[in-house]
Amino acid sequence: MMIEIENVSKNFVLHNQGGAIIPVMAGASLSVGRGECVALTGASGAGKSTLMRMIYGNYLAASGRIVVGGVDVARAEPREILALRRETLGYVSQFLRVVPRVPTREVVAEPLLAVGVDRDVAMARAEELLGRLNIPEGLWGLSPTTFSGGEQQRVNIARGFAHGYPAMLLDEPTASLDAANRETVLSLIEEAKARGAAIVGIFHDEAARARVCDREIDVSVFTPKAA
């Protein structure tokens, strides 16, 4: 199993609001094998994003194990999580967060450069992805900070798929894309699965979910009863 989650719970403690404890998840377990894509479902607020963030190490689990590629994210040192994110675990969020002034081509190639891929190879791969996602070539040398929302989202997807991560987290990858770009993203997901990537995703797009996902897990069952 590439991603293995066992009995994970999560509380938010609001120290500045009377120390209120809000349990948001309990007993969460799931596993994803190579080449498998699992969709997280459930109503808004059920904890889909929270679980994704815990897998990525962005949220701290209160208890349980979250093992990705042999590393227990719930207990790992920061540098171990960073290494995991660099080499093993990719995350396509809904928003592009980049440093000003860095050209789009570099933004997309960066995950490849970070794992030591030759610069020319990395740039070629970046350009190929930008081309497939219909980012006009004239924009490749510019920083994406000034791009439209849709363009930024596609740049973000290109960046997320540049390196062939063995495990991937996708947060609404097809939201608000036109038909052609949606098709490209779905093929990218299929290609990732074909090379053996284990994928956990959130898809509101039911058709897309039906096409790429092998299983669905309703996270509502992990919602603590008391809440």
């Binding site: 120290h15 701290l60 920061p78 002034r101």
Partner: protein, 256 residues
Amino acid sequence: MTPLLQVREVAKFYGARVGCRDVSFDLYPGEVMGIVGESGSGKSTLLGCLAGHLAPDAGEVIFDTAVDGPRDTLRMSEPERRMLGRTDWAFVHQHARDGLRMGVSAGGNVGERLMAVGARHYGDIRSAAVDWLGRVEIAEDRVDDRPTAFSGGMQQRLQIARNLVTGPRLVFMDEPTGGLDVSVQARLLDLLRGLVREMGLSAIIVTHDLAVVRLLADRLMVMKDGHVVETGLTDQVLDDPQHGYTQLLVSSVLQV
């Protein structure tokens, strides 16, 4: 892997008042750690203790020296420690004028560290200086100008060039973007980020600006009243803060 810096139970008191205490952490090669906290939280005191500017009252600061392996810098002789300060270590001050010689040209400022470690060829020193000015985006034709003729952002970039020219392995930064315009800050951060990655630098950055650490730091240490209240991966600490103080700190930032 041996940590580049091992900090053990460092404490510094100002009379009965606590500067910082019980601070321990390991910093690995290539890691960038941010220390955040409000004024008076002890973060600058801690940085001073780590960099050898202040003498801690207790603890160990063990640095993996290039020659002798891990050594407690607090127990080194002063010449050894100062040599470290000119070679393996660098310190970027908040105010560029604290870290620059204002009466010496930009080239002389960058060249000083080279000359301090024995460079005696003018042509080589000058080309190294010009090269470094280029890397921090200062035009070659400013090499003979004094920092007094530079803008605040340029002075700060010059200070960075002056510090990095000898290829240090550990850089201490005290509010490196403090007092600069927002647009100038962004440029400086981008530059620092590039240099840190390119040179594989380890760095400890003290700041109260959470945007700075989000961009530059791999991990975070949050201080309050001289104590460390929370540590962890930068985005985890900022997005899912566990300690009440960190929650307050994060929620106090204005969203733009």
